[in-house]
Every structure is written in structure tokens, then in C-alpha cells.
């Protein structure tokens, strides 16, 4: 799936999601699974706020000098015997990976979960070229055999329950001689482990993402809980990192400041089970490790974003705290967004990657409650950025005609006190008449969607301005 599909018919998909009992049950795991664990982890670290402030400053400084850090990073990778492949867009990145694989004669490629690989739709490109991608992250492996897209950036199969996974395994693992349905999470994990073990040993190339790139050392920093990234970057003959340009941080110390925030924000762990700094091919005397090391460095619009009002979004470390705390995400899940990046961060990023004309509904998939910004360890002003998209959506006439007319009317009145007073008076009278003294309105003309599930409160005692004037006189 590509980002180009961004958010088409969010409303329809959201309605379907709300009516899906299996999905709703799966989404109910979010509060205890993510919110509580994050809260506990942060409460055990009194330096949290200081770390957040430092991390924001580190990332802002890096973005101010990103060209310097990109060049330094490349120089370090090259000095270690690796190679950086600069790619303007998804097509160039796919071509770079394919050419590395074909030069290496790779037929089976191990993959460790990477959102950039999703963004550039890498698996489809590999398959079309006769290369078998093997997802090694348990969640991504389940998605691969179900031919589904992830619904969350760190918990890709949060929308599935155990039974669905067991059914998929039973069907897909027949070819390995497995005929029994696994009835527990433990059994499912063991079966996946056994089957993937064989693949780990046969992969000729390994592809990982990067949580950070460090310019001081030319390293990619990769975190996992399963250890699949470390197997992927240790066993095959070729290691390919796919990463976007905003992943840079200057130093190892800067990386640790951000790593202290990452796992706590994401899963509520102090740190993930595996955190690895990796760069370059196997060195003289090394007992293991790949012979080739490549970094496929993707721009895909990010340099342009740097010069735009959306610059703050480039601080994002993809921890998923925003979607874990979003009431809209919790109600509809990730697939309703129909984009690689769901939730609040996705609603900002997808219109940029896919074009606002392909994702105009996403900035509206928000109640603007502001929890995303509150929990963001990089203090990204997500509601503000969504508001910017709504402005663009309105300017480009992508919103509904009715909402544009209403906004234009409101804008007219807001700039003319006499018109505002008049309009408010007419509205209040009209609403009062509709409520017939009941204090609430059962059915609102032009607002049936609102009153279908709840009553609209009728205004009491005239317009705000009238009440204000009366109280001031007292």
C-alpha cells in the first residue's frame, strides 16, 4: 500500500470500523496496553521534562544544520566501507534497493519492520522483481501472510485477535507441514519462531529501518524487542538500511537523550530489549557480520517540509504516543486512515506525502482535544499543524461546499460586529423557537448528523453579547 492512497473516504471507513465488533474489542486493549504503561514509566523518571526539552532542542538544532550532518554522516559511512544512496523519492529508493539486491544476487531478503519500507512500498517492488521479502517482526509477518497493511506504526497487528492470527497460520503454514491450530499466543509465537528461523539462515540480504542516524559515527540506531533487526543485520551477507533524512542526530550522546524518551513513550518500557548502533561492513578480524553495508537515504518531500510551516513535524521519532492517546484513533483504528501513517502524526504527514487533494479528510479526523501534543515527547504542535491543513483544504476548495459557505458567512460576520450581533440574535431566536421551551432540540435543520445521536442544547437567555452587556451594567 502506498501513501498515495491517503485517507480517501475516511468517513465511510470510520463508520465501518465503528460497526466492526472484532476491531472494537482489539482497540479496547489500548488504554491498559499503552497509556497506563507510558504513564508508569514516566512517573519513575523525574527527569522526564528536562529530557523532553533537551531532545526538542537537539532535533531543532540538527534540522537547522541538516546539510552538515547529512554530509558528515555520509563521510563516516564511506570511511567505514559502506555506501550512502541518495534518493529523491520512493521510486529512486526502490530502484536503489533493487539494484543492491540484484548485484548481490539476493533471492531471499530478510526485513525488519520499517515504516520507510512501507512508505516506498518496497515489498511489492521486491516481489515484482522475483525477490522474496521475509518480514521477521512477528506482527509484520502476520500481516505479510494475510496480505494486509499495518494499522499502527509500532503495533502493526493491534487490529487482530488471537483467533484471526491462528486461522491465518493454519492456512499459511500447511506448506510447512503444520496441521494443528495454535490456541495460545505462546503457541503462535513458537510456530512463527520456528518457521522464521529457517528463513533467517537462508536470507542473502537484510533490510532494516533506522530509528536514528548518528552523524558523529555514521551509525544507524535500531531498536526492537524481538531481536529480529539484530539477526537481520548480523547473519545475511548484505545489510541495507532504509531511512529518511530527518532521522539524523549529531552525536551518540544526543541519540541517548532521544532513546531515553522513545521506548517510554511507545510501549512504556524504560528501553527496548535490543538497542543497536550499527555502521559499515564486517571489519578485519570480526567473527561475523555482513560484507556490504548500504544506507538508502530518502528525501520524499522532507527537504521541502523543512522550508514549510510543517517543519516541526520533522522532529517526529515515530513513537506512536499520539495515536495511543487519540480518541479518534481509539474509536476507528489505523486502517480507516488508509495511509501508511495513521493517527494524529499521520494526519499531518500524509497530506504532505500524498498531496492534500488526496488526503483532505485526514486533518478533520480529529476532535482537537490536544492530547497528541500533550503526550508528544518531541512537543510537536499537532493540532496547530492540522489547523494549517484545514486552512489549505478550505483555500483549495477541497472541503464541502456547505462548510465553505458557512465559514465564509462566519468570517464575514466575525469582522463586522453589527452583522455578528444580528446573526447571533436571529440564530438564538430561531433555536429557542425550535426547542419550544424544552431547553433542547431533538432535530436540527441542516444538522441532522449531530442530532441523530444526541440532542442539541438550546441557548438560554439571549446572545452572549447581550448577556455580557447586561451583567456589565449591574
Amino acid at each position: 500500500m502506498s501513501a498515495q492512497a491517503g485517507g480517501r473516504d475516511f468517513a465511510g471507513a470510520a463508520r465501518a470500523a465503528l460497526a466492526d465488533p472484532v476491531l472494537q474489542q482489539a482497540l479496547a486493549n489500548i488504554p491498559a496496553g499503552f497509556q497506563e504503561k507510558r504513564r508508569n514509566a514516566i512517573s519513575r523518571l523525574p527527569e522526564w521534562d528536562a529530557l523532553v526539552a533537551a531532545a526538542v532542542a537537539i532535533k531543532d538544532r540538527t534540522l537547522d544544520n541538516l546539510d552538515v550532518h547529512l554530509e558528515r554522516f555520509e563521510a563516516k559511512v564511506t570511511a567505514a566501507g559502506g555506501r550512502v544512496h541518495w534518493c529523491r523519492d520512493a521510486g529512486e529508493a526502490r530502484a536503489a534497493v533493487l539494484s543492491i539486491c540484484s548485484n548481490a544476487g539476493a533471492k531471499t531478503v530478510l526485513k525488519s519492520k520499517s515504516m520507510i519500507a512501507e512508505e516506498i512500498a518496497l515489498n511489492a517492488a521486491l516481489e515484482e522483481n522475483g525477490i522474496e521479502p521475509v518480514e521477521t517482526d512477528l506482527g509484520e509477518y502476520v500481516l505479510q501472510i494475510r496480505a494486509e497493511a499495518p494499522s499502527h506504526i509500532i503495533a502493526p497487528i493491534i487490529h487482530l485477535n488471537r483467533g484471526q492470527i491462528a486461522d491465518s497460520f493454519l492456512e499459511s503454514h500447511k506448506k510447512y507441514g503444520k496441521t494443528e491450530r495454535c490456541d495460545s499466543a505462546r503457541a503462535l509465537l513458537n510456530e512463527a519462531r520456528e518457521i522464521l528461523r529457517g528463513k533467517f539462515l537462508s536470507g542473502e540480504a537484510g533490510i532494516t529501518g533506522a530509528n536514528l542516524l548518528v552523524s558523529e559515527t555514521g551509525s544507524a540506531v535500531i531498536v526492537t524487542n524481538e531481536g529480529n533487526a539484530d539477526l537481520t543485520l548480523t547473519l545475511p551477507r548484505v545489510h541495507i538500511v532504509v531511512a529518511s533524512i530527518e532521522k539524523l542526530v549529531p552525536t551518540v550522546a544526543d541519540a541517548w537523550t532521544i532513546l531515553r524518551l522513545l521506548a517510554r513513550s511507545a510501549t512504556g518500557q524504560d528501553i527496548t530489549a535490543y538497542t543497536t548502533f550499527v555502521g559499515g561492513p564486517r571489519r578485519t578480524g570480526d567473527a561475523e557480520g555482513p560484507e556490504e553495508f548500504h544506507v538508502v537515504l530518502l528525501d520524499n518531500g522532507r527537504a521541502g517540509m523543512l522550508a514549510s510551516p510543517f517543519r516541526d513535524m520533522l522532529r517526529c521519532i515515530k513513537c506512536a504516543a499520539c495515536m495511543n492517546h487519540c480518541p479518534v484513533y481509539a474509536a476507528v483504528g489505523g486502517h480507516a486512515y488508509a495511509s501508511v501513517y495513521p493517527g494524529p502524526m499521520g494526519a499531518v504527514l500524509t497530506p504532505w506525502l500524498a498531496g492534500i487533494e488526496h488526503a483532505a479528510e485526514l486533518p478533520n479526523a480529529s476532535s482537537f482535544c490536544g492530547r497528541c501534543e500533550e503526550v508528544c515527547p518531541m512537543k510537536i504542535p499537532i493540532p496547530h499543524l492540522l489547523r494549517l491543513w484545514r486552512e489549505k483544504e478550505n483555500d483549495a476548495k477541497l472541503s464541502s461546499r456547505r462548510s465553505r459557505i458557512l465559514l465564509a458567512l462566519w468570517a464575514f460576520a466575525a469582522r463586522r460586529p453589527w452583522a455578528y450581533r444580528l446573526g447571533a440574535r436571529v440564530l438564538v431566536r430561531g433555536l429557542n423557537r425550535l426547542s419550544q421551551g424544552a431547553g433542547r432540540i431533538r432535530e436540527l435543520p441542516f444538522g441532522a448528523a449531530w442530532t441523530a445521536t444526541r440532542d442539541f442544547p438550546a441557548p438560554e437567555g439571549g446572545t452572549f453579547q447581550a448577556l455580557y452587556a447586561k451583567r456589565k451594567k449591574r
Partner: protein
């Protein structure tokens, strides 16, 4: 224009116009600081919280006994795979009853991998490993059980302190190909958000601390 030049030109055009903000001071959590005893105790507490088991032994002779005890308790064969690390030669020399020790990176059939951690990190109970001659990360990834030997003197407070030996005279880090921080056994919570140990890597991590070793 090449993709490289074009991307860099676009990034340059968007450079910050103001003077660079001052470098923020490093924030090292208080839990990464303390006396040697405090850091040792914190390391043990944090490692246990992450799902590892621990044992402390005074010297190499006791280490052999502890390994034998652990393997027996887990019902595992007395066959251990470890890398060429000369720092582990003494284990090969111990040869407690019926032990077989083979050297080199992990092989698919190995059930127990043993390696020597270069450092411990009290902050989160993490172990630091690095690639290099005589080292093999696969020992901490492929076998179902991983035994890590850690000298008590190598327990640092923070990650930064653990990585300090990689710093050159100019203060910049020169890293081996891979430096890995390991915190507890491999795990996954992908299925219904419930943690299961032993996803791809070991389901058990047993840390043996050598009290009197460099």
C-alpha cells in the same frame, strides 16, 4: 543535478536563519548516578525487572559451578557455545564434569550461548556487547538461552559511561561495526498486547556477575 546535490541544495535552502541555538546541557537521570554499591544494586534490580535472572559469584571457579547449576535447573544439556574471546578462555579450561564447550559464532543447533558483556548499565539493567575479534552477537540472538558473564567492575551508571571507552582523544566516538545494548530476554507483545518472551532471540537471559574480575 544528482539526487545527492539536489537534496542537499534543498536542505541548504531551508537552513535556520538565526544563529544556532546553544547546545542543550546533557540530562543524565539521577538513577544513573551513585556509589559503586548503589549502582550494583540498581543494575540487579533493573535487570530483574526487565526479565533477566541473575547470580553473583566470587571468581572463575564458582562461575563454572553456577553455569552447571543453571543448565541443570533449566534441564539443558551441558553444551555451551561461546566466541573466541580470550577473556573467556578460563571457562574452557574449567571443564566441570561432563561440560562440552565449542567456540565461534552461534550455529542453528546451539541451545545455549555464552558471551562476556563489555559493560553493564545500572540505569536500566542493560548489558553492552560489541562486534570485534572474538565476539559474536549471534550467541545472544540464536540460541534459546543466553548466559552473559559480567565483571562487577564493569557496571557503569549510564549508557554514555558504558560507551566512554569508544571515545578517542578528541572526545568523538569511534565505534565497532555494531554495539548492542541488551535489556532482558527477547520478547513480543504483538499478539493482543501481552508480552511473551523468546520471540526470535533467547527466551531466557541469565546474567552471572563475577565479583572479583577486571
Amino acid at each position: 543535478m544528482s539526487a545527492r546535490d539536489e537534496i542537499l541544495a534543498r536542505v541548504r535552502a531551508a537552513r535556520g536563519k538565526d544563529a544556532p541555538a546553544p547546545r542543550p546541557p546533557a540530562v543524565i537521570p539521577a538513577r544513573a548516578k551513585g556509589s559503586e554499591r548503589e549502582l550494583f544494586a540498581r543494575f540487579c534490580e533493573m535487570a530483574k525487572r526487565a526479565g533477566a535472572t541473575l547470580a553473583a559469584v566470587p571468581d572463575a571457579r564458582e562461575l563454572g559451578r553456577e553455569i552447571a547449576r543453571f543448565l541443570g535447573q533449566e534441564g539443558l544439556p551441558r553444551a555451551v557455545r561461546m566466541a573466541g574471546d580470550p577473556g573467556l578462555d578460563f571457562i574452557a579450561l574449567l571443564k566441570p564434569a561432563g561440560f562440552s564447550v565449542s567456540r565461534g559464532p552461534a550455529q542453528p543447533a546451539d541451545r545455549v550461548g555464552l558471551s562476556r558483556a563489555l559493560a553493564g548499565v545500572a540505569e536500566t539493567g542493560s548489558l553492552m556487547f560489541a562486534s570485534g575479534p572474538g565476539q559474536a552477537m549471534s550467541l545472544a540472538l540464536l540460541p534459546e538461552v543466553h548466559i552473559a558473564v559480567l565483571a562487577r567492575a564493569r557496571i557503569a551508571g549510564s549508557y554514555e559511561q558504558a560507551m566512554a571507552p569508544f571515545r578517542g582523544n578528541d572526545g568523538a566516538h569511534e565505534l565497532p561495526r555494531a554495539v548492542t545494548f541488551l535489556t532482558g530476554p527477547s520478547r513480543s507483545a504483538d499478539i493482543e498486547q501481552k508480552i511473551q518472551f523468546g520471540a526470535h532471540g533467547p527466551r531466557r537471559l541469565h546474567i552471572v556477575i563475577l565479583e572479583n574480575a577486571p
